[in-house]
Amino acid sequence: MTVDMSVAVAGMKLRSPVLAASGAFGYGTEVPLLDRRALGGMVSKGIFLRPRTGSPPPRIVETPSGMLNAIGLQGPGVDALIRDYAPQWASWDFPVLVNINGESVSEYGDLVGRLDGVPGVAGFEINISCPNVEQGGLYFGNDPRAAAAVTEAVRRRTTLPVWVKLTPMVTDIGVIARAVEGAGADALCAVNTFVGMSIDLNAYKPRLSFRTGGLSGPAIRPLAIHLAHQAARAVRIPVIGIGGVTNAEDALEFLVAGCSAVQVGTATFINPRAIAEIHDGISAHLELRHLNSLAELPRYLPRD
């Protein structure tokens, strides 16, 4: 028996519910030891319209069961992305979504306008939740009106799938989720990193040059599962769970909690084979329970 692991996320058919998270695979061109058969899709590193240098080092700190990062969305800008990476993506057998960033609503729209129709670009993940940039990012993610405005601006420029990536740093993720759904998002990605800080006790100042960073890894998993679940309860569009997935059990927790798929980031730094192991582990779990397909996995999603 082979289990049917495919899933359709708002019309986009994925062969696996395990996706590569933005920022953990670069542009997919130098991913070591990746077993591509297991990959449902990839979200590219966050891009702006123009090239960005990113933050000065140190950019990374290890924390208990997690890490803080403050990369600052270093990237080559949209022209280089279209020239250097999209053509490679066009030949791959899984979809690549571009993680979209802007300092203003119109910049988000313009960026998607530039990328819409470029071969290799299968859809967009709108990042309104990056904690590591001075302008944009989080600002759009924690205000329902701003979040909706960005989503609308993007929606007008493309018929490709638009996924919106939510921040956990809000009082009620359901409010943002509904605002974004109302503005035309095809799916939600929950969640981006949590803002954190670590202090250097020699220098008596933050370890990261950007002062704060985004916390990722297993430390945040219980929080991310809760938030993805809350988002899924708030909307009718699919939710993709993100945060601390390291093995099949972790992924299954998100899926049971109401997610259609998961993204894996930090875990791949530690185990470059994580994606394949997660894929195979989910399949084995389904088989053990005599389920023929991922669609048959029981979900826990009370709508009260």
């Binding site: 991913v31 070591p32 990113g54 933050s55 270093q74 730094f269 185990n271």
Partner: protein
């Protein structure tokens, strides 16, 4: 690049608190170049820890380390038979070209790490190798060396020349250096063309996370794990490179 569950086969002390660990990793040993590193992982740490490859023979690679924190302490507490996860070889090592006659290797403290392999490659290209070993005192000086000539330098004069490895070093056609980032900045002043191996924090070690940013004089950042860790000394914006990392401060 290989991901191996590799067995520790031996461990020996080479200075006070400084040990060399041998790891059975034939695939990596077969192809690793001087200046490249491996990213080691085990149950007690969250992120992997990068270590230069110190030596390599047919079957085994070696790394040299001191306890500077939680991870390195755990690693030193392991012993033959223990298995660790070994990802590598990673990074871009020393690019040595045939034609140079003399190579000067300058190491400060744990900066000995990439030098035995570098000495071997330079010798194989026909260069005469002088290795200048610096440390705070004789106890902290790695007892192993390689090359045609070895010069010792200690801050307190307890062995060899009293002073820094840099002040003790002769000129050469190629200069290779590894040690605290502060020392490498001084190397850059005297030998802008020197090839230096820098230390940064690392997330992935494989070029995807952009965590290991190395600030460049021409602006922007390179990835220490991919374009580096070896750089032309003059290419690095030393003032912007953190100099407080542990490997870096342990002279």
């Amino acid at each position: 690049m290989f991901l191996l569950n590799a067995r520790i086969t031996a461990m020996r002390e080479v200075a006070r608190g400084m040990a060399v660990i041998s790891i059975a990793a034939p695939e990596i040993a077969a192809i690793v170049r001087a200046g490249q590193f491996v990213n080691l992982g085990w149950a007690g740490v969250f992120l992997r820890r990068p270590f230069s490859v110190y030596r390599a023979d047919g079957e085994r690679i070696e790394v040299v380390l001191k306890a500077v924190g939680r991870g390195t302490s755990q690693l030193l507490a392991m012993g033959p038979g223990d298995v660790i996860s070994c990802l590598g070889p990673l990074g871009h090592g020393f690019d040595l070209e045939a034609g140079s006659r003399t190579a000067v290797l300058i190491s400060g403290g744990l900066g000995v790490a990439p030098m035995p392999l570098a000495a071997k490659e330079a010798s194989a290209l026909g260069m005469r190798v002088t290795w200048v070993h610096g440390a705070r005192s004789i106890d902290e000086l790695c007892s192993e060396s390689a090359g045609d000539e070895v010069i010792w330098a200690t801050d307190d004069g307890s062995r060899g020349i009293a002073g820094t490895a840099i002040s003790a070093a002769p000129d050469g056609d190629v200069v290779l250096a590894c040690g605290p980032n502060r020392m490498l900045a001084a190397v850059a002043d005297r030998w802008p063309e020197a090839l230096v191996a820098v230390e940064t924090y690392m997330g992935c070690g494989t070029g995807v996370c952009l965590g290991c940013a190395v600030p460049l004089t021409r602006g922007g950042y390179d990835r220490a794990c991919k374009e580096g860790p070896v750089y032309r000394a003059a290419d690095i914006d030393w003032a912007a490179l953190p100099s407080h990392l542990s490997y870096a401060v342990t002279v």
